[in-house]
């Protein structure tokens, strides 16, 4: 049985290598269809869905590896990671027994790989080199999104069902502190100076800014109802946030802690990706099973691309710097 399994995986990878050549020179957007257990591959030039590949059960989020050679798709029900070539969209390998990997992240020094198990109320720490489990930390209810501090020392999790954030010390590999933050915290981002976290409060109309070392609230930046997830625009200053209830996206100035502008994005905007030239913003519209492409010059909808059910995580390789 084991031999057959390996043979099968070999054939799968082989098929990927030959099948993928045609798309190698094009930009491919990956969109995770959480309720279909598939990933939609979209040609970013023609806005057409190239193919729809089956992945594990209930994929939610994806993450590029530190060497940028693989894109990891994490599935919470099949407890696995599937690696794709981020340029061609072809599968590379699968790692199983990564339990409930709802959200994932690498430490900046590429030493650690961390997952948030939303359904199981715990966080798991793996060595990034081989994905071996090192530590399992029980957490308060609903660990959801996570971000590392620049010095690799800390990782901060939002606790969706606890209305708090949790700071984990990576050296001690223990919980350092838990701080109340507001209703249903979801996405999290770190300020360029590493001092503050930005947390999207899905149950409120604002983004909480907190000094994560002290747990002191700095400001609540009012955006619109259902503030959810972030994407930096690459200039170390402007940060995009989706407002799922209001059907909009706001641009926050990370220096002045204010909203620069807000524009409409239909269909329950969730995760985002922005092109390297900053001209297009791609947003998963969760409630209408589409990806919405926004022309960032006009801030208007450029096109919408039908994908699978409950589109969630999104990625393309030619994205703006994550800063």
């Amino acid at each position: 049985m084991f031999k057959l399994k390996y043979l099968y995986k070999f054939v799968w990878i082989l098929a990927g290598l030959f099948g993928g050549a045609a798309w190698a020179q094009q930009g491919v957007a990956f969109v995770l269809n959480s309720n279909d257990d598939t990933v939609s591959l979209i040609d970013t030039r023609t806005y057409k869905e190239i193919s729809r590949k089956r992945v594990g059960r209930e994929p939610h989020h994806l993450m590029i590896t530190p060497d940028r050679k693989s894109l990891i798709v994490a599935s919470v029900q099949s407890h696995d990671l599937i690696f794709f070539d981020p340029v061609t969209g072809e599968p590379q390998k699968r790692i199983d027994k990564i339990i409930d990997p709802y959200q994932l992240g690498f430490s900046p020094d590429s030493k650690w790989f961390v997952t948030a198990a939303l359904a199981l109320d715990r966080v798991d720490i793996y060595t990034a080199a081989d994905y071996k489990l090192v530590k399992r930390l029980p957490a308060p209810r609903g660990p959801s999104h996570l971000i590392f501090s620049a010095d690799n020392r800390h990782v901060i999790f939002t606790l969706q069902h606890t209305n708090a954030v949790m700071v984990v010390d990576m050296i001690a590999q223990a919980v350092k502190g838990t701080y109340s933050i507001g209703k249903t915290p979801a996405g999290i981002w770190m300020s360029p100076d590493d001092k503050h976290i930005f947390v999207g409060l899905l149950g409120e109309d604002n983004v909480a800014v907190m000094d994560w070392r002290s747990g002191q609230m700095v400001k609540k930046i009012v955006t619109a109802p259902g503030a959810h997830n972030f994407m930096p625009m690459g200039d170390k200053r402007r940060l995009l946030v989706t407002n799922r209830v209001a059907n909009s996206v706001s641009i926050i100035d990370m220096h002045t802690l204010s909203v620069l502008e807000t524009f409409k994005v239909p269909g329950g905007p969730d995760d985002m990706e922005i092109t390297a030239d900053g001209k297009e913003l791609w947003v998963t519209s969760r409630w209408i099973n589409k990806v919405t492409v926004i022309d960032m010059e006009t801030r208007k909808v450029k096109t919408q691309i039908p994908v699978g059910r409950s589109p969630h995580g999104i990625y393309f390789h030619h994205h703006a710097p994550r800063q």
Binding site: R54, E58, V245, R286, R309
Partner: protein, 325 residues
């Protein structure tokens, strides 16, 4: 056509959700549950369409070739209510809420001990690239689980005390499929959830086929003279095949306390020697109804009498006189 329908369905679901449901969820402070609520809206919408299709297709069929005709149809009203409660997702949601905590705890405990819920694909990795094949295998396995649950619903007196409500319908129509005691629903749901922990669950991408399966179950209860032919009768549960399961003196008696237990595929009745392809279109109901036992007409009365029968079954197990098939 399916794609076009699917797009329109999604557009309507999205519009309803964004304009009416999500703002309510937000103001109630329940945004942590916004995704399950969205799924619930989809379930309710599918249920409404499902019922509309059932009425449009099966009503004319029942008028065209009825097995029986009744002047008065009061007995069917409660079945209509059961169907709406089920297909709108009201009862499944209530049962889910009842079971979600213990099953989550169980699953968390298993996973914390590195006992990971298996998927068929782990055992048969070639299925990872053959989603249709994987779905068919899941369907067969879950149907096998339901077959045995159904056998036990007839075998154990306590369980039969509840399940007999389903069989007490003497005016059987396509509405009768969801006519069940609520406690029976809870027990079978828990058993299926437990089975899913062991064998895994089919992929969500085949929800249309799952709906088709539910419609076949409704069809199998229809008041219609309809056989699928010699081969078809052995492939898929037909109204003729399932009517034998509901027939007085046939469907709930004998060594196996009944016949034709399969939900979708008669294969399991053939394998376990409980198939009956001979029965004609017999009257439905339970033998003791002929001697005057009351199973109730209305929803609440039916539920109450089910609990009374359950109490009697336990008394009988304790040595007293009580309820048994």
């Amino acid at each position: 056509m399916i794609e076009s329908f699917s797009q329109q369905f999604t557009a309507l679901q999205g519009w309803l959700f964004e304009t009416a449901i999500q703002p309510l969820v937000y103001h109630l402070g329940l945004m942590a549950y916004v995704e399950p609520v969205y799924e619930g809206l989809g379930t309710a919408m599918v249920g409404i369409i499902e019922i509309a299709v059932l009425v449009a297709l099966l009503k004319p069929l029942e008028r065209w070739r009825p097995v029986e005709q009744w002047a008065e149809k009061r007995a069917v009203r409660a079945d209509v209510l059961y169907t709406w409660l089920h297909r709108l997702g009201v009862l499944p949601m209530a049962i889910f809420l009842l079971l979600v905590i213990p099953f989550n705890e169980l699953e968390i405990w298993l996973r914390m001990h590195d006992i990971v819920r298996p998927n068929i694909e782990d055992v048969m990795p070639w299925l990872e690239r053959n989603s249709v094949g994987a779905f068919v295998i899941y369907l067969l396995l879950l149907d096998l689980v339901e077959y045995w649950l159904h056998r036990w619903q007839h075998k154990f007196n306590g369980w039969w005390a509840l399940h007999s409500l389903h069989h007490s319908q003497r005016q059987m129509t396509f509405w009768a499929d969801d006519r069940n005691h609520l406690l029976d629903d809870v027990i079978t749901s828990a058993a299926v959830a437990l089975a899913a922990l062991i064998i895994g669950v089919p992929s969500g991408q085949f929800f249309l086929l799952i709906i088709a399966g539910r419609m076949i179950e409704s069809l199998s209860h229809a008041n219609v003279r309809l056989s699928f032919g010699r081969l078809g009768e052995r492939l898929l549960v037909s109204p003729k095949f399932h009517r034998a399961h509901h027939a007085i003196g046939v469907g709930h008696e004998g060594v196996n306390r009944g016949c034709n237990f399969a939900v979708l595929f008669p294969l399991w009745d053939i394998v376990f020697r409980t198939a009956n392809f001979q029965s004609a279109y017999e009257p439905t109901g339970i033998r003791d109804q002929l001697q005057g036992r009351d199973y109730g007409i209305g929803f609440w009365r039916q539920q109450w009498l089910g609990l009374v029968r359950l109490r009697d079954a336990f008394r009988r197990a304790g040595g007293g006189a009580g309820f048994a098939p």
